[in-house]
Symmetry: C2
Subunit: 209 residues, 2 copies
DNA sequence: GCTATTAACTTACGACCGTTCGTTAGCCAA
DNA sequence: TTGGCTAACGAACGGTCGTAAGTTAATAGC
């Protein structure tokens, strides 16, 4: 319609494309991204869309990058001021759960869904997904190690095992929210995380054993 | 090539189609199923493939049904003889983990991946996925209720909360196996499940508060 | 042996996919 | 004012998608 040509407008357009792509990919997955649909949504031509990235895979990687950045700003960045260890980690998981609920309608955190989408398809996209999740996993493990060092957790804590289980809680919450729309999911997840981080017994097993 | 016409051959062909579709869908997802590719893999025409189902969605539902049936035979059916409650449930989760490892290369249990694939796409397929997962969830909850009734678990156990956390462990295992190919995943999952079902404290928190 | 049934076939359709091409039009520096 | 740069365009490419129509041929019931 009305062509703009300055380089400044170009990055604005690129940002606009990625923003919309983020929404679409959150709902339909990274593979559900379609240049034609994206162009239609944005009121521009397919060539105008793909021109900013060159190839669809490059677009997917850009979207993934934007998602990681969004997550970083939404979750870890908000708890940098908290006390390192279980305190900070608990706050971080809480922020993550809030983040999930905010995006309930539009697919929530698609990092985790991209993980299951590309787990069997080798390539740059899968590598990027692995890198992003690994980064988060290392963040969690590092905080747990701090807690184990300063006495909040026992010094012989198996931090990898604990990180594994915390990740499971988040995945269960994601599924319950996205698939079942279960409003009790965040509360369940919070309870499980609190218990894991504080080292109390599992639900309803307070004295069994 | 060589057309067969008996009704007996027809169900054999249908079974063959679903079998291959199960493999493809396990690797690439239910949405990755393609009639053309399926036909090429089986050495038949697209019309010959879709003729058995009428529509692609019907094919997806048939594949989903076959997957549920396979899961039933592989997991719950193998532990019907075990003692009801945590004993049987622990065995069932163990079988499930074995099942995951068997299918490591070809995508494992795609029930869970179909869940994240269709969580944002209303329709018959999503409904079928929800029904299948709900059925499993009810199975778990019922076993936990038995355990709470016979004293293996405390009578005031929050069985839904416990089922939620058990589900999370399985999801974490699935991700670790499929995405990271982490060989320690089954052991981690087994440890977490055992702890949840026996009511001992979280990892490395044996005496912390 | 004849006929009705039907599994599987070939062919074709329209739609959409990702990508490439050449063109147009506004910005910026010279 | 002019010329290079480039964002965005329209159009077309070959390919694949799901589906429909019509054909062939082997079976099953009479």
């Amino acid at each position: 319609m009305s062509p703009r040509k300055s380089a400044l407008e170009a990055v604005a357009t690129r940002t606009r494309i990625i923003g919309r792509a983020l929404e679409v990919a959150s709902a339909d997955g990274l593979e559900g991204l379609t240049i034609g649909r994206l162009a239609a949504d944005l009121g521009m031509s397919k060539a105008g869309v793909i021109g900013h990235f060159g190839t669809k895979e490059a677009l997917q990687l850009a979207v993934l990058d934007a998602a990681v950045e969004r997550f970083r700003l939404r979750v870890p960045a908000r708890v940098v001021g908290a006390e390192p260890g279980t305190e900070r980690l608990g706050r971080a998981f809480g922020e993550w759960l809030d983040f999930m609920m905010e995006g309930e309608g539009h697919g929530g955190c698609f990092l985790t869904s991209a993980a299951s989408e590309f787990d069997g398809r080798p390539g740059p996209v899968r590598d990027a997904v692995i890198a992003a999740l690994t980064s988060w996993s290392e963040y969690v493990t590092a905080e747990l190690a701090i807690a184990a060092r300063n006495g909040t957790l026992p010094p012989d804590t198996d931090v990898d095992q604990l990180a594994f289980e915390l990740n499971g809680v988040v995945l269960a919450a994601e599924q319950a929210i996205q698939l079942y729309r279960d409003p009790r999911a965040p509360a369940r997840a919070r309870a499980a995380i609190t218990r894991l981080l504080r080292g109390v017994t599992p639900p309803g097993a307070e004295r069994a054993g």
